[in-house]
């Protein structure tokens, strides 16, 4: 590999290669977008109903749930971790909301509490955030590997959801006017301006997340920790705090996903969200986030979520068997990562070319290795 990389540099084919790379580079940069367009064209040709209003509505609801999880997941992935617990957290927060909406019995006081909907929402989000905090605490305080800590919490959160609900679905969460707790279905059923509420929430969440990642010191710290943890620490970044917060954001987003899912069905199912964490990771990866950390954007993640969602529903729509759906999704994820690797390689070759060309005059290109070697000495 190094051999082939070194060759073109030494021969000074920079400009020629540079031009050809750029075309490919643009295609690569926008690959998630291109993939999305291709999917839409392909499925709309294969199926008359794919682009119908009702189908687009259904698909966008699925996309939104995945996008909530993926946006939270992105913070964790950028800082160089992974969060396998989000699917379970989705289930748990839905159940927590369900318990409060159906009425929380306190036996000792012989009362049943019916909190207002906004209180229920806050409580459920707090539970989601708490799961994230536990993840972060385990990872920073006890130095448990992120994969293991969140794998453990995946089971703990799912277990908690099953215990609280006794394994049963909690139906009829629309509340009643007498108890003053109706309105929970706004989150998942209402359609302001004809667009499902989920999509509005997704857009707001994405804008806030993008703002945090790109405009705040915390966001920059997340990238720094993922890029080079030691450098970040030596520069005075509170690495542990940053990590814990990233997991808390992931848990919070999973909480939103849980609430919306429960609202959509007006019932809470303890098993909901199973394997959703993998879809969220896939959306991040397709959107250009690196599992090594330090890289990823909200824009990319949204595209990734759309690709995953449209692919899923499109395959159902054209009647591909569910066994094939699973296999095809796997292939798409692997191809996305292979393309990503290729992009990184091209970029580093390009950098090498730039570094080589920075010798300013053309005659110096042949002396590149000498010159840099001197500086490296």
């Amino acid at each position: 590999m190094s051999a082939t990389q070194a060759e073109p540099k030494k021969k000074g084919l920079i400009t020629v290669r540079g031009r050809s790379i750029d075309v490919g580079g643009i295609l690569l940069e926008g690959r998630a977008f291109i993939a999305l367009i291709v999917l839409i064209i392909m499925f709309s040709m294969l199926s008359d109903t794919f682009l119908s209003y009702s189908n687009v509505l259904t698909m966008s609801k699925h996309v939104a749930i995945n996008a909530f999880l993926a946006i939270g997941m992105l913070f964790v992935i950028i800082k160089g971790g992974i969060d396998l617990s989000v699917g379970s957290t989705l289930g748990l927060t839905g159940i927590v909301a369900g318990v409060f909406l159906q009425g929380w019995e306190i036996d000792s006081l012989n009362v049943i509490l019916y909190p207002q909907v906004w209180v229920v929402i806050l409580l459920a989000l707090a539970v989601g955030t708490l799961v994230g905090w536990i993840n972060g605490y385990l990872i920073t305080r006890f130095e448990v590997a992120p994969f293991i800590a969140t794998l453990g919490m995946m089971y703990v959160a799912r277990g908690a959801a099953l215990l609280i609900s006794n394994g049963k679905t909690m139906p009829r969460l629309q509340g009643s006017p007498e108890l003053g707790n109706e309105g929970f279905d706004i989150l998942g059923v209402s359609r302001p301006l004809g667009v499902p509420m989920q999509i509005w929430i997704m857009l707001v969440l994405a804008i806030i997340a993008a703002f945090i990642l790109t405009k705040t010191p915390f966001g920059r710290s997340v990238y720094a920790v993922g890029g080079n943890e030691r450098a970040a620490e030596l520069a005075g970044v509170p690495v542990k705090k940053v990590k814990i917060r990233a997991y808390m954001i992931s848990g919070f987003c999973a909480g939103i996903a849980g609430l919306v899912t429960a609202s959509q069905l007006t019932s809470a199912i303890p098993g909901s969200g199973e394997t959703f964490e993998l879809n969220a990771i896939a959306a991040c990866v397709i959107g250009g986030a690196s599992l090594m950390g330090g890289r990823g954007t909200i824009r990319g993640v949204l595209l990734g979520a759309f690709v995953i969602g449209f692919l899923n529903d499109g395959l159902v729509n054209v009647g591909v068997s569910s066994f094939w759906q699973t296999a095809i999704k796997g292939v798409v994820i692997i191809v996305a990562v292979i393309i990503d690797q290729a992009q990184q390689r091209i970029k580093s070759t390009k950098n090498a070319a730039i570094a080589a060309a920075s010798g300013s005059s053309a005659s110096q290109t042949t002396e590149i290795s000498d010159q840099t070697a001197v500086k490296g000495g």
Partner: protein, 527 residues
């Protein structure tokens, strides 16, 4: 940070603060059984450049890490302006106005120059958001001051090594520290960049900043020094004003030590060429746009001890790792006993009789979860396999022979590898390598981080193996070892062989000059 500095200035003007800014008292630092610092007293004065000299492992960098809060001392205290302080971490240190430019680059390659300069001390505007415009402007000003024509928004990943080092320097400058520690700040800089850095250092000095400067380029360091301090074996051995000393004074105090006078018995009659290298080229893995080794030819004969001497970054480690099969060789031929091995894997090369004792024993040399015996047997497991089974007894016998052969001090072969001292761990690596019955033995800094007594033992073992007919090629950055334990010293610089010496007719100074340690930078300034 600016406020602290102004405060210090006014206090000095009022005569309330002495010229000594920072003081270390009786600092010791132990890493396991290794004593990196043995009770050091050290002071830094306002408006002065204090230069630290010493060989690798003398304790300079360790002391600087302690003074900048990266490590804490085993015992001893730090004082700032006469008051005792404790530095829990680098944030503490930078709040106290102490800043360090690290020997190794500590940058986030995925962020821009300006991000790297201001991370951890963000300039924020309305609503707590990063004020990118102000940061970019401030970063641009620092870069301009360093005469570096770079946009602050450039990604660090897109910079060459020297420019990355400039970013490290820029970050320290932007912190407006009053104690600025520079640990090898010029290792990747060109001649012009060094000139600029020295101009900046003089300006900082005039502004009252106390600077500590460490460099392997002795003459360069002397050029900027006001005070000279020499470290050897974890102790401060000499201290003087720059005006009272010269290069010879420094070198004598850096090296002269009893353990170096050990002479090893070397064979004079060599056998055939065991290892032959022709026109070797290896790409630098850290920066793929340059070559770490560039067109190197070398022959090592059976029974010969050849030393690769050179500064850090000269390409020695890359060469040895590529020979062992860990790095790809772009060009050139490697033959062991007449057989080409360029396309072979690490395992195949070991089978063919060439094996490496790596530089970083902890990271690359040992498997901490295996016992002493497990580590020794690791490279020769194949020899003990019969059918599906590992012949345990035969293996244990071989391991115990190995332990006796290289005199590892251990309770038993089942002991944990962590229970051994550095020297004994290194012997375990040696035992493993020797168990593979090699013809060519490669060793990278075989005595790094082990005490003087164990160093001599390691070399005694190496020379014994050479007398038995092995071709030995070892890299070291300690002049004493190069001169005492080799038949031939090959000096590497910038990926090439720049000289070959017969150690019996060579002085320390000659080697240091050849490696570029004391030579003026000369051509390096060519742009």
């Amino acid at each position: 940070m600016i406020r602290t500095k102004v405060k210090a200035d006014t206090e000095v003007a009022n005569g309330t603060v002495s010229a000594i800014v920072m003081r270390a008292r009786g600092i010791t630092k132990h890493y396991g059984a290794t004593h990196a610092l043995k009770g050091v007293d050290f002071t830094i004065k306002r408006g002065q450049v204090t230069v630290l000299f010493g060989e690798n492992g003398a304790g300079k960098s360790t002391l600087m890490k302690i003074m900048s809060g990266i490590e804490s001392p085993t015992s001893g205290t730090l004082e700032l302006d006469g008051e005792e302080i404790s530095l829990k971490n680098t944030i503490d240190a930078s709040q106290q106005g102490i800043s360090i430019i690290h020997q190794e680059l500590n940058l986030c390659a995925n962020l821009s120059i300006s991000d790297n300069i201001f991370i951890g001390r963000d300039i924020t505007g309305r609503g707590g958001t990063i004020d990118r415009a102000s940061e970019s402007e401030a970063a641009g000003a620092v870069l301009k001051h360093l005469e570096e024509d770079l946009s602050p928004d450039t990604l660090v990943a897109d910079l060459r090594l020297g420019q990355q080092q400039i970013v490290e320097i820029a970050r320290a400058l932007a912190s407006e520290a009053r104690v600025l520690i520079m640990d090898e700040p010029t290792s990747a800089l060109s001649g012009n960049e060094v000139v600029v850095l020295f101009r900046v250092i003089r300006e900082l000095k005039a502004a009252g900043v106390a600077i500590v400067y460490i460099s392997h380029h002795l003459e360069e360091a002397l050029e900027i020094a006001d005070r000279v301090v020499v470290f050897r074996d974890g102790a401060l051995v000499a201290e003087a004003d720059r005006a009272d000393v010269d290069l010879n004074w420094v070198i004598t105090r850096m090296v002269g030590r009893a353990a170096d006078d050990l002479k090893f018995e070397l064979r004079e009659d060599y056998g055939d060429v065991a290892l032959s290298l022709r026109d070797i080229k290896i790409v630098d893995q850290m920066n793929t746009s340059r070559l770490a080794v560039d067109g190197l030819d070398l022959d090592v004969r059976a029974g010969e001890m050849v030393c690769l001497y050179g500064l850090m970054g000269a390409g020695r480690t890359e060469l040895l790792e590529a020979l062992a099969g860990r790095l790809p060789i772009v060009n050139g031929s490697v033959t062991v006993l007449g057989r080409s091995v360029v396309d072979e894997t690490v395992g195949d090369r070991i089978d063919l009789g060439m094996t490496l004792v790596p530089e970083d024993r902890q990271r690359d040399g040992l498997i901490p979860s295996l016992s002493v015996g497990g580590n020794i047997a690791l490279s020769s497991l194949k020899a003990f396999v019969k059918g599906f089974w590992l012949r345990k007894r035969q293996m244990t016998d071989a391991v115990n022979n190995g332990i006796r052969d290289v005199t590892v001090k251990t309770e038993s072969e089942a002991a944990s590898i962590d229970s051994l001292s550095g020297g004994n761990q290194q012997k375990v690596v040696l035992a493993r390598v020797l168990l593979t019955t090699p013809h060519v033995l490669l060793l990278d800094e075989p005595t790094r981080g082990i005490d003087v007594g164990a160093k001599a033992e390691i070399y005694t073992l190496m020379t014994r193996e050479a007398r038995r007919g092995l071709a030995v090629l070892f890299a070291t950055s300690e002049v004493g070892e190069a001169l005492n334990a080799a038949n031939r010293v090959v000096v590497m610089s910038k990926g090439q062989i720049v000289g070959e010496f017969d150690p019996r007719k060579t002085t320390r100074e000659q080697l240091m000059v050849a490696s570029g340690e004391t030579a003026a930078r000369g051509k390096a300034g060519a742009r």
